[in-house]
């Protein structure tokens, strides 16, 4: 079977331990996201309608429980991992000049770290609901 020399496509990589680990982690995080992300989408679109989801709703109905804050953070970690390694595959396929490729990858990683920081910060620092009053 002839495969593109650039593609990181499906066959399990041989010869590179890093690429093999990435290959496994994409599948493991993919299955995790199948559960976490599809349940998340279902909760926020099918169980509740977006029209009723103000910031107050999030604070008083969802993030008043540590479980949902933890769930959201786990989902954030998993999607950043899966998405960024996925984008790495795409970049490696289309950008071949070494400096351009490195530049694009580091820009993407920087973006990922930025999202990790602001995502973690809001999940753990968003206020808990005040008893008997609006969260605002």
């Amino acid at each position: 079977m002839q495969l593109s020399p650039y593609s990181r496509a499906r066959p399990k990589p041989v010869g590179s331990r890093r690429e093999t680990v990435i290959w496994y982690m994409m599948r493991i995080t993919g299955v995790m996201l199948f559960v976490l992300a599809l349940a998340h989408f279902s909760i926020y679109h099918f169980i509740w309608d977006p029209a009723e989801q103000t910031a107050e709703f999030i604070i008083t109905e969802r993030w008043n429980q540590l479980f949902w804050r933890g769930y959201t953070w786990l989902m954030l970690m998993t999607v950043l991992f899966h998405g960024w390694l996925g984008m790495r595959t795409v970049v490696l396929d289309y950008f071949h000049r070494p400096r351009v490729r490195t530049g694009v990858l580091w820009f993407l990683y920087g973006l990922g770290i930025f999202l990790l920081i602001i995502g973690t910060q809001v999940i753990f620092q968003a206020p808990l609901p005040v008893e008997g009053a609006s969260a605002q």
């Binding site: 599948r27 099918f46 309608d49 103000t54 910031a55 984008m87 809001v122």
Partner: protein
């Protein structure tokens, strides 16, 4: 010499189409995630602005975009499972096309009701006016 794009020339059929949709949906979801983590940051950082963003998501164009996002997500997830099945059981490769069609059946069965639920505030008034509900 006329250059024909590979996608029009290479006869990869379902397998290549599956890969192409997987990549396109993946990049689309990635772009959405960048915006989504930032907008969720507003829940703690600027709740009033978050409420305004939600109003857009609940509007007609917002809902149409949500249906597209849901479709991309569902396709990427289902095809991802198909890939994992093929990786764990290589003998299933002979059925890769059958799995492709089965996957589209699941996509329709799950996706169409989902799209209807998301778009409900848009079509429900029309159906009620017609006296059907």
């Amino acid at each position: 010499m006329l250059r024909v794009p590979t996608v029009l020339r290479y006869r990869g059929r379902e397998g290549m189409l599956a890969w192409a949709f997987h990549r396109i949906s993946g990049i689309g979801i990635f772009a959405f995630i960048v915006l989504h983590v930032i907008d969720i940051y507003l829940v703690g950082g600027n709740p009033e602005l978050y409420d305004e963003v939600l109003e857009f998501y609940a509007s007609l164009p917002g809902r149409v975009m949500e249906v597209v996002l849901g479709g991309a997500l569902l396709y990427h997830a289902l095809n991802g499972l198909r890939i994992i099945i093929l990786d764990l059981w290589p003998s299933m490769t002979v059925f890769h096309r059958g799995m492709w069609w089965a996957m589209w059946a699941i996509f329709i069965v799950v996706g169409v009701p989902g799209a209807l639920i998301i778009m409900r505030p848009v079509w429900l008034p029309f159906v009620q006016d017609l006296g059907l509900l």
